[in-house]
């Protein structure tokens, strides 16, 4: 089967063309723009800027650091909680019980409605006049008119819970898929040896899941870092830029300020941070090494 032939090149050609035009070329232009003064509203000032955009970003822009810090906090909290809840959920729906198929379809379903739709649903649930907190207060729980999205103290928690709602199913699906590939004899052998339920979990299940956990947390961390739609539509980055992530800041520079040069420099920074983070993460977690 492994003869020299043109066939594989013909098969990947369409993919290569698409990736070249819509991934490689844009990356190149982002790097190029990042070294330019490029503002659509002030075309007479455009031109080569050297590293000006980057020095401004590093030394003269508190919002860059603030959005980066928020991104980091967002990723750590979200991925940590999603991993924990997703693992528990996957273990639950991996058990045998009546109605398991229906239960799976139901608890996984928020994954299908991600994005703006999630925002819409949660705005309805959280709105102060007819949302769940209003109804609860009528039942005597909490105070009426609670506005979690308008309150700077609670807006982060509201964002986190909303993102968990659609993010936990993703983890659970991936981990469930991996749970199902664990050979059954391993559990039987462990049982025969008298291993307790907890012991079987820590000695059989967890080591088997290790690489899937490392990989899914990495992918999820990258996606959560880059996530825009939920935060954009739920808070718009507010109040007072409190929930502005780095990609949101980029979008604002590009769309509102038309500052393509500076926006591109922020993009390059984000990409480099993700790249270094990913390499370091894979190395530190000893991905692929057999336990």
């Amino acid at each position: 089967m492994r003869t020299r032939t043109w066939a594989p090149y013909a098969l990947i050609a369409p993919t290569l063309v698409l990736m070249a035009i819509f991934l490689v070329y844009p990356i190149g232009s982002v790097v190029y723009y990042s070294l330019q003064r490029y503002n659509v509203t002030q075309p007479w000032k455009n031109g080569f800027a050297g590293l000006d955009n980057f020095t401004r970003m590093l030394f003269d822009d508190p919002l860059f650091w603030q959005s980066l810090a928020f991104s980091a906090k967002w990723v750590v909290v979200e991925v940590g909680l999603q991993l924990l809840l997703g693992l528990v959920l996957a273990l639950i729906v991996n058990e045998t019980f009546i109605g398991r198929g229906v239960a799976r379809a139901l608890v996984f379903s928020p994954w299908a409605v991600s994005g703006v739709l999630t925002t819409g649903i949660w705005i309805l649930l959280l709105n102060p006049s007819t949302g769940i907190f209003q109804v609860l207060s009528e039942w005597g729980v909490g105070s009426p008119g609670t506005s979690v999205l308008g309150n700077p103290d609670t807006v982060f928690d509201a964002l986190v819970v909303t993102e968990l709602w659609r993010g936990v199913p993703f983890f659970a699906i991936l981990l469930l898929a991996d749970l199902q590939s664990i050979p059954k004899d391993l559990y039987e052998a462990a049982s025969v040896d008298g291993a307790s339920r907890w012991r079987r979990f820590t000695s059989v299940t967890l080591p088997h899941l290790k690489d899937a956990i490392i990989l899914s947390t990495l992918l999820r961390a990258v996606w959560e870092f880059n996530n825009v739609d939920l935060i954009y539509t739920l808070t718009g980055g507010g109040p007072a830029n409190q929930t502005t992530t780095l990609p949101l800041y980029v979008a604002r520079q590009a769309v509102d300020s038309h500052n393509f040069g500076y926006g591109s420099a922020l993009t390059v920074a984000g990409f480099l941070i993700l790249l270094f983070f990913s390499i370091a993460y894979l190395r530190l977690s000893k991905f692929g090494s057999r336990a």
Binding site: G120, A177, T267
Partner: protein, 303 residues
């Protein structure tokens, strides 16, 4: 450097799923795999709690959508369809819905075909540049869609693809293809090569052997990758928001986001729009989620 490359190679193999045979499909196997049931409450209590967390928001949307304006009933009766009339006809969700369907199906078709082609090339051939190709596709996962907006906007303007569903389909296909292709190649790799070789020894051409032997076994993978692509396209917001500024080219998420802003107090309209956007994708998902789990455990993120 060599060490890093070695790690990447492992990563590629892990993702492409060369290390495991696919689990047998079908009901019997899935029943057999679970351990003996533990204490029932250990399953039931957290499951019911999680079901509440999942379903209460859905229920809330449904209630808002079908109760008349001004009502605050928690169990709406009789139901009213006034909000659906408003969003479908007055706000234009009928048009958005049509655009979303066309875009979703377009992405589904192209992503599926191209990922089978590329996946087959990766799984069944060794060729020059294979590793670079794989690495490039992995690296593409680190590129934030939001951060590509600036150059993509310039390209789309140049190609005259702003305000066109074709343009949206192309952009979405380009972004989804890498992961779908890796998934698909893992799947094909797990299909035993012997039957295919036997068919070719018997005088089948390679394409004929593919259609006769490989394709029928690929059904779960096609369902998984195709529905993945459709759901992704259906929910895509950023590209649709940036590249479609004319209202007759809006997709459902864009229409919904305007509803969020404009109808801040008309929760009925927002909810009805949400139901219109949610129903098709939840139905698709309910049907295919079992293939999705199978597909992932056979082909994708493997440890």
């Amino acid at each position: 450097m060599t060490e890093t490359l070695g790690k990447t190679d492992t990563l590629v193999r892990e993702i492409a799923g060369t290390t495991h045979a696919p689990p047998p499909t079908g009901r019997r196997r899935r029943r057999a795999v679970a351990e003996e049931p533990g204490k029932p409450w250990m399953i039931r209590v957290p499951l019911v709690l999680y079901l509440l967390f999942t379903l209460v928001p859905f229920y809330w949307m449904l209630v808002f959508a079908v109760r008349p304006t001004g009502s605050t009933q928690l169990v709406p009766w009789p139901v009213s369809f006034e909000h659906f009339d408003t969003v479908w006809n007055d706000i234009g969700f009928g048009v958005f819905f049509y655009n979303s369907v066309v875009m979703g199906l377009g992405v589904l078709v192209f992503v599926t075909i191209l990922s089978v082609m590329g996946g087959y090339a990766l799984a069944r051939f060794r060729f020059r540049g294979q590793r670079v190709f794989l690495l490039a596709m992995l690296c593409s996962q680190f590129i934030p869609g939001a951060m590509m907006l600036i150059p993509l906007f310039v390209i789309f303007k140049g190609l005259g693809l702003l305000n066109s569903i074709t343009g949206l389909v192309i952009a979405e296909v380009a972004f989804q293809l890498p992961l779908s292709l890796i998934l698909m190649s893992g799947f094909i790799r797990n299909i035993s090569v012997e039957l295919e070789e036997a068919a070719m020894v018997d005088g089948c051409s390679r394409p004929r052997a593919f259609f006769a032997v490989v394709l029928p076994q690929l059904k779960p993978a096609l369902v998984a990758v195709g529905s993945f692509a459709f759901i992704g396209a259906w929910n895509n917001f950023l590209f649709a928001l940036m590249f479609a500024t004319r209202q007759d080219k809006f997709t459902l998420p864009v229409g919904l986001s305007y509803t969020l802003g404009e109808f801040n107090t008309d929760f009925g309209a927002l909810a009805a729009g949400g139901v219109v956007a949610a129903v098709p994708v939840v139905l698709v998902f309910a049907v295919v989620q079992r293939f999705l789990v199978q597909g992932l455990s056979a082909g994708a993120v493997k440890g």
